[in-house]
Structures are given as C-alpha cells and as structure tokens.
Symmetry: C2
Subunit: 167 residues, 2 copies
Amino acid sequence: MTRATVNRSAKSASGTARWLDTEEAATWRALAEVMVRLPWALECQLHPPPDAGLSFIEYHALARLSEEPTHTLRMSELAVLTNASLSRLSHLVKRLESRGLVRREPDPTNGRFTNAILTRRGHAKLVASAPAHVDTVRSLVIEPLRPDELRQLRNAAERLLKRVRDE
Amino acid sequence: MTRATVNRSAKSASGTARWLDTEEAATWRALAEVMVRLPWALECQLHPPPDAGLSFIEYHALARLSEEPTHTLRMSELAVLTNASLSRLSHLVKRLESRGLVRREPDPTNGRFTNAILTRRGHAKLVASAPAHVDTVRSLVIEPLRPDELRQLRNAAERLLKRVRDE
DNA sequence: CAAGATTGATCTGTCAATCTTC
DNA sequence: GAAGATTGACAGATCAATCTTG
C-alpha cells in the first residue's frame, strides 16, 4: 500500500509528540470503534444470506444514480460521490454490470467519458433494499440520539471532515 | 459474504419504512463520510512509502499488547480488543510474526490457548510509529473540536456504540 | 464434543501500468 | 500529452471447513 501520497501534512504544529489525555483517548477510542462497528453492521444488514444483496458502497452507487433525473452519471463523478477511487469504482461497476444492475456506455458527447446508467433491474433492486436499510440507519444512528445530540454529532462530523478533506 | 448472522433485529419498531428528513440525512451523510475518510487518512499516515509501516489494525494490535505488563495476550482476547474476528487476527498475527514483531506460543497453562507476545522489535516498531500517529489523531480528531464539542462527540459515539454492540 | 485457533478458497480493494479519446 | 477509464497482479478480509486440546 502506498497510500501516503494522499496525506502529508498530518503533523501537530509543535512537532513534539504530545500524548492524548484520558478524556481525549476515551473520545478517540469511542469514535474509532464506531468507525469499525457501524459500517460492519450496515454491511451485514445489506448482505443477507443467501447472498444476493448489496455492499454498502454498491448500495450508495445505485442510490446516487437514482437521484439523477436521467439515472446516469459519469464514472468520474460517481467516484467522487461515493468516495471511491476511479479504479475501485471501475471494478465495482463491472460487477454491478455483470449482475444487470447498471449499464455502461461511452458519453456520445465526449468519448473520453463513460456513463454509468442505472438499469430497470438496478432500480428495482435499490427500491427493494432501501426500506430495510433506512430502518437500520434510523435504528442505529438516529433513534439513539436526541435531536440536540444529533445536531451536535453532525456539527462534530462536519468539522472533522473539513480537516480531513484538505489535508 | 454471509455477515448477516451478526445483525438481525435491525428494524424500526413500527416496521414501516419512514424516510430520513433533510436534517437526519445530512447528519447521516456526514457521519458516513467520516467513517470512510478518517480511517483512510490514518492508514495513509501509518503506511509511508517505502512500505515498511503498519496498518491501522496492526498498530492497534501491537499497542494493545504493549499495554499488558507481560506484553502478552491470548489470541481470542486480542481479537476482542481489536474488534477483529479470530480468523482475521490469526492471518494478521502470522504476518506480524513473519516480520518478527510478534511471537506466538501455546499457553503453558492450557494448550488450547495461543499467546501472542510482543517482541523487542515489535515494541521498538510501535515506539517508533506512535508519536507521528498520535500527532495525526490529534490533528484530525482532537484539534478541530473545542472541549465541549469533544465531550459531545464522545457522548454521541458511546450512545451509538451501545446500540450497535447489542444488536 | 466444545472452545480456541488455524487454514484455504474466494472476493474486494490498491497500486501501477496501460489504453483511449480529445 | 493529458484526462478519463480500465486492467492485472498482489495484499488483505471473509467465510466455511478443519485441526487441536481439554
């Protein structure tokens, strides 16, 4: 893995190694565990046996396509929207295509672009999966928190994102 | 993938599919993006090229071992502490062992258990990696938030964990 | 036979290299 | 030649099956 091109400037201003205090460490541990367990729980819910389900990222790729009036997005746009690399998305869409959930064709306007298009079957699959998935998100993320706590969570998440995005 | 044994009861009480409102959806999107980007940023920082670094879970496995007075934990205990399956941990520790960072031996007390033991080299590797990693965590998670916001984040994370743990 | 641990097949993601279109 | 996209080799995770010890 040579991911290191992505993140460089991740160093504290001082340069000295200041340790986390008890409270900070507890916060970090809780967040780190959420980052492992919550995605896992959602994968489990979307992948019921016998396995004809969707992975988390497959679900969101279909969902993003369905939000477009034309049910179409360029591969590069879809990659950004799903937080995936173009390479990952290409492999992913190839699999979805082989299942008949998505179709690809070159953009008539500009042959460099590839359009990913949600098929009828893909849309049906999404519609069939969405209610249970949304129920799970509601149950795991929304319901456990009061409205003010939800706002606080959103605030914190957006602050962290701002930092992690422009590293 | 047959992860579905893990999560069953993830359904809203009503059973009807209630959609997320705008605010809820924004919260969920922000959290979902954090769950993708933050782990990735940390992997990048721990895996500098040329790649002799540690993955996030490798780092934490070594860290957990180092917290034990004997630098030793049973495989099954370490699996729980790192939120990994025993199978995943077994593959992982085998790789760490081949790099000389960890050593395995059967528990003398009870041959069914395998002890994972941090080696001198493993400890050195951890000590060498820790400052930059902690700096990154501080920069990406601690510094962007005020103390009260940190407390709110911890509170929210722990509430979500309580729900997701006993699904 | 149950608990702890390991193994092998398979699948998905990463990286680097390549192909195509403008 | 650069941008968009794809490909193939490899690394790591999952699942199911297996091995081992008590």
